[in-house]
């Protein structure tokens, strides 16, 4: 037994040493990994002082521009990082730029450090390998305030899995608005809208596709009219799906001659639409921001009697994101800025109607009581719908449909005059 014991103990000793060794290795590597992670954020912070981030973001809205300016000033104060807002008129230009850089093998030091993006453009970047490594967003400290588990929309962009390659920044929903002093009951479905347009010649229009909001409006009509909504979640195949689009073209064939300027000219985007509503050239406006009408009223751009509404069966809703191109010249500083943009303080200001009015992506359950209260106390604008009213949300079609809709619209209605 003793012998046995001795033998065992020898083995035991060996096993023990082995165990200690392996355990130590794991423990050490874990701790070092953890501390490296802890450190690396600090290292990033220190290293990035004095750096410049070129943030390519749509620049047509004064409120949003001012908000980005505020965030840039804050990050400059805190970390001495300069953020330059490159005001883009169409995000696809940015993707085109990065793509041409990749084609020319300019794999570092690209012109774009950070992009505001979603949907088609993200899918384009993903398909062409223009994004940073997977799952980087989870390493951003403030991502702990986002509830990725219970909120699948934060990791899903127009039906495309984000694979953690873009950080949610805000939530959007297609919202219509009208002047309540002239119109009592707005049309609340595509069918009602058609009747409205036919009986009010020249008083409705939408931004010219491929403008983002214009295309979204077409998608909205399609979703309401299509017989099988599930088709829209799969990849578009011409042979199989061409017929599915027919209800949209029929609708447009009827409606187009009765649009503003007889459908021969279209406003360039949703802000131009706002101007038209303000001057009463048209009756109904639309935006992909639930607070747009309230903001415009505050800024004297719309009369105070304007109110918002959505369609009975809901409207398109999606998340908009921030992402870093693979050849960004300043990945670390871009991450620091993203971390700030999803911090409670920045998200609170973003949701405030006095600044932007874009809903926060943070989960209330993950915030402490102090922040929770602050978020709950943000007043809503006079023309902003309640969460209850905005409950009906429609899912975005797969990006492959978007291009078909745009191209076909241009062929049928955008090039015939």
């Amino acid at each position: 037994m003793g012998f046995q014991l001795f033998k065992t103990s020898k083995n035991f000793l060996l096993d023990f040493y082995l165990f200690i060794f392996v355990f130590g290795l794991i423990f050490f590597s874990l701790t070092s990994y953890a501390s490296e992670n802890e450190n690396s954020w600090e290292v990033i912070l220190n290293k990035s002082s004095g750096d410049t981030v070129f943030f390519h973001a749509w620049g047509g809205d004064k409120n949003i521009n001012s908000y980005i300016k505020w965030a840039s000033d804050e990050i400059k104060k805190k970390y001495n990082i300069s953020v330059k807002h490159v005001k883009v008129s169409d995000t696809s230009n940015v993707v085109a730029r990065i793509l041409s850089e990749k084609n020319a093998r300019k794999n570092t030091n690209g012109a774009v450090d950070l992009v505001w993006i979603n949907g088609e453009n993200f899918s384009m970047m993903k398909n062409n390998g223009l994004l940073l490594n997977q799952n980087w967003i989870f390493k951003i400290p403030n991502s702990k305030f986002l509830d990725f588990e219970n909120n699948p929309n934060l990791l899903n962009d127009f039906g495309v899995d984000t694979e953690g390659m873009e950080m949610p920044w805000g939530l959007s929903q297609l919202t219509f608005y009208f002047d309540s002093s002239y119109i009592k009951i707005p049309p609340r479905s595509s069918i009602e809208l058609k009747d409205y347009i036919l009986s009010n010649k020249g008083r409705f229009t939408f931004p010219q596709p491929p403008d983002f909001v214009g295309t979204s409006f077409l998608k909205q009509v399609l979703i309401e009219l299509i017989s099988d909504k599930n088709l829209l979640q799969s990849n578009y195949e011409k042979a199989k799906h061409q017929i599915a689009l027919q209800p949209l073209w029929d609708w447009l064939d009827e409606v187009t001659p009765y649009l503003w300027r007889n459908g021969k000219s279209y406003p360039s985007n949703y802000l131009a639409l706002t101007e038209l509503v303000a001057d009463r050239e048209i009756d109904i406006g639309m935006a992909f921001n639930i607070s747009h009408a309230s903001n415009a009223i505050l800024a004297n751009r719309l009369p105070k009697t304007v109110r918002s509404y959505i369609h009975e069966k809901g409207t398109l809703a999606n998340t908009h994101f921030l992402t870093i191109p693979y050849n960004s010249s300043n990945i670390e500083a871009a991450k620091i800025f993203i971390n700030f943009l999803i911090s409670p303080i920045a998200q609170l200001r973003k949701q405030d109607k006095n600044f932007w009015g874009d809903p926060s992506v943070l989960s209330m359950d993950k915030l402490n009581n102090q922040w929770k209260n602050k978020f709950n106390q943000i007043p809503r604008g006079v023309a902003t719908l309640s969460n209850e009213d905005l409950k009906m949300k429609l899912q975005e079609p797969h990006p492959s449909w978007v291009k078909v809709i745009e191209e076909e619209w241009i062929r049928r209605y955008g090039s015939k005059n």
Binding site: N65, A96, M124, N262, K264, I410
Partner: protein, 557 residues
């Protein structure tokens, strides 16, 4: 004596212009056939011509570019001559000479924005008459701007090109004894109109022919004005190119390049067409018909054209006024003729937010303009000894203006990206230089070459070398023109849109690009504010130069 150093420097100057042009052309010529090794494409085919011709509405776009380019150049040329002939040798002529520069200073974008302010159904024009006359409580659903055939684009271009034609015509007139010819013609009992048509215009035209071609090339490919004034379903060829270039598809650069080549062809055909018309007009038969028509309708034509010209001038003024009004407006909805509330908060806010852009716009334009003037002076010094050859090599200076901006810039861009420039300012200044040099050249060269050789001989005999003569004698003698040319150079640079858009790539931006951004997407108030700064800065620059020149002249005499 023509030294080797001179020759070397001259070749260097030519290279500065020709090298980027060579690469600019190559940069869209090769991809338009699908061949571009830098992007890893080696196939060589006519495939992209097929793709281009299948773009929806492309034939209408080509027609629009051709039509608007031709009509606007023709109208602007005719109207500019009408203005000069109706005012020649009067007080008004002197006035025009003075105010022409500020009119030139207005960027194309500003003019386009102003026309939109005035002529949309909710614009100023309808507000004047609504609702008391028209009964419109809300804007009518009229199809006015942009119209189907680009008439508003033509109007905008004509308004912008008339001052330019007047400026170059005046400087042409000063190159020969126009006054003598004018008086001789009149003393022979010819009407002012026929004296102009048959005696003076041929002499002027010969001198501005190059400019006419430049205007053709510009108007047929203009980007910024088309974005606002041209129809959009479909738009002009230039806009089709821009849209293709912006589309995020792998082969969109190749399609855009192909369209850029087509744009160049359109302009070449347009110029050939113009030359054909020149031939017809200068034919004897045309002359006799023209003279017979003229004899009795003379006064009618004169009055009619004068009315048109007054309207155009009034419009330009209205464009400025309405832009200023919008910049100060609080809420201003249809059909209010004037804003309900006025405040300068918009102006102050814009200035605070865009201080850096305003500053960089001014600095960039100053650098570009100074370099351009330096270039021109060097050029004149170096070509001094050349007589006949000079005329041929001077074509190089104007070459950049003949190639459609958008084609050239797409070409340049496809080389710039692989070159891995991390700096956007230097390429931008370099490219802007190509567009500014010709204008400085037009203004500076006549007076530089008119300096009497006697002064220079005296200076040389006193032992001054060429450099000293240039600095202490030539430049001081032409100081007013020199300053004017710096100012005009700045204005040209200040108003450039397409080069900044492409080469600046959003990293270097100027007020003109910002203004167009706002025009396409912002509120009218913001737009008014941007326009305000866009106009006020050139005017300030011109006022400074004017004031300095006045003082300088007083001191001189």
């Amino acid at each position: 004596m023509y030294s080797y150093l001179n020759k070397f420097l001259l070749v260097l100057l030519i290279a500065i212009i020709v090298t980027p042009i060579f690469f600019g052309i190559l940069g869209f010529l090769l991809p338009s056939f699908g061949y571009f090794p830098i992007l890893g494409k080696y196939e060589f085919s006519l495939n992209y011509f097929v793709i281009s011709s299948n773009i929806p509405g492309v034939s209408k776009s080509i027609f629009l570019s051709f039509f608007t380019g031709f009509v606007s150049t023709l109208l602007a040329l005719i109207l500019s001559q009408v203005i000069i002939l109706n005012t020649f040798e009067t007080k008004l002529y002197k006035l025009i000479k003075k105010i022409i520069a500020p009119l030139l200073a207005m960027p194309h974008v500003t003019m386009a924005i102003g026309l939109v302010f005035i002529f949309t159904p909710s614009g100023l024009f309808f507000r004047i008459f609504s609702p008391w006359l028209t009964g419109f409580e809300r804007p009518p659903n009229f199809f006015i701007i942009p119209d189907d055939y680009g008439f508003f684009l033509i109007l905008g271009l004509v308004l912008k090109e008339i001052p330019f034609f007047i400026l170059v015509s005046i400087s042409a007139i000063e190159q020969f004894s126009a006054k003598k010819i004018f008086n001789v013609g009149k003393s022979l009992q010819h009407s002012v109109f026929s004296v102009w048509c048959f005696l003076l215009f041929p002499l002027i035209y010969r001198r501005i022919r190059l400019i006419v071609f430049i205007v053709i090339a510009f108007t047929a490919s203009v980007v910024d004005m088309s974005l606002l004034l041209a129809p959009s379903t479909p738009s002009t060829l230039a806009i089709q190119i821009l849209q293709k270039y912006q589309a995020s598809e792998t082969n969109s650069l190749f399609i855009a390049s192909n369209l850029a080549l087509i744009q160049l062809l359109v302009i070449i055909i347009l110029i050939l067409f113009w030359v054909l018309i020149e031939k017809i007009v200068s034919h004897k038969l045309f002359f006799t018909i023209f003279v017979n028509c003229l004899t009795f309708k003379n006064n009618l034509i004169k009055n009619l054209t004068f009315i048109i010209v007054s309207i155009l001038f009034f419009l330009s003024l209205l464009v400025l006024i309405s832009s200023f009004l919008w910049s100060l407006a609080g809420d201003w909805y249809f059909p209010n003729f004037l804003p309900k509330t006025l405040d300068i908060q918009n102006l102050v806010e814009f200035f605070n937010e865009n201080k850096k852009i305003i500053f960089s716009s001014i600095v960039i334009s100053l650098i570009v303009s100074l370099l351009a003037c330096l270039f021109v002076i060097l050029w004149v010094e170096l070509t001094d000894g050349l007589k006949k050859k000079r005329q041929y090599i001077e074509w190089f200076i104007f070459l950049p203006l003949f190639i459609p901006q958008i084609s050239f810039l797409i070409g340049i861009q496809s080389f710039l990206i692989p070159l891995n420039f991390s700096d956007f300012l230097v390429p931008l200044i370099f490219v802007e230089l190509l567009y500014v040099i010709p204008y400085c050249f037009i203004i500076l060269v006549p007076s530089l070459r008119e300096i009497s050789k006697d002064f220079l001989k005296v200076a040389a005999s006193l032992g001054k070398n060429k450099f000293e003569i240039l600095i202490f004698i030539k430049i001081p003698m032409i100081m007013p023109t020199f300053l004017l040319s710096i100012a005009i150079g700045m204005l040209v640079s200040f108003a450039l849109y397409t080069p900044v858009y492409f080469i600046g790539a959003g990293r270097v931006t100027t007020l003109t690009v910002e203004a167009l951004n706002l025009a396409l997407s912002g509120s009218k108030q913001d737009l008014g504010v941007a326009t305000f700064f866009q106009v006020i800065i050139p005017i300030i620059i011109l006022l400074i130069v004017g004031w300095y020149n006045n003082n300088f002249l007083k001191w001189k005499f």
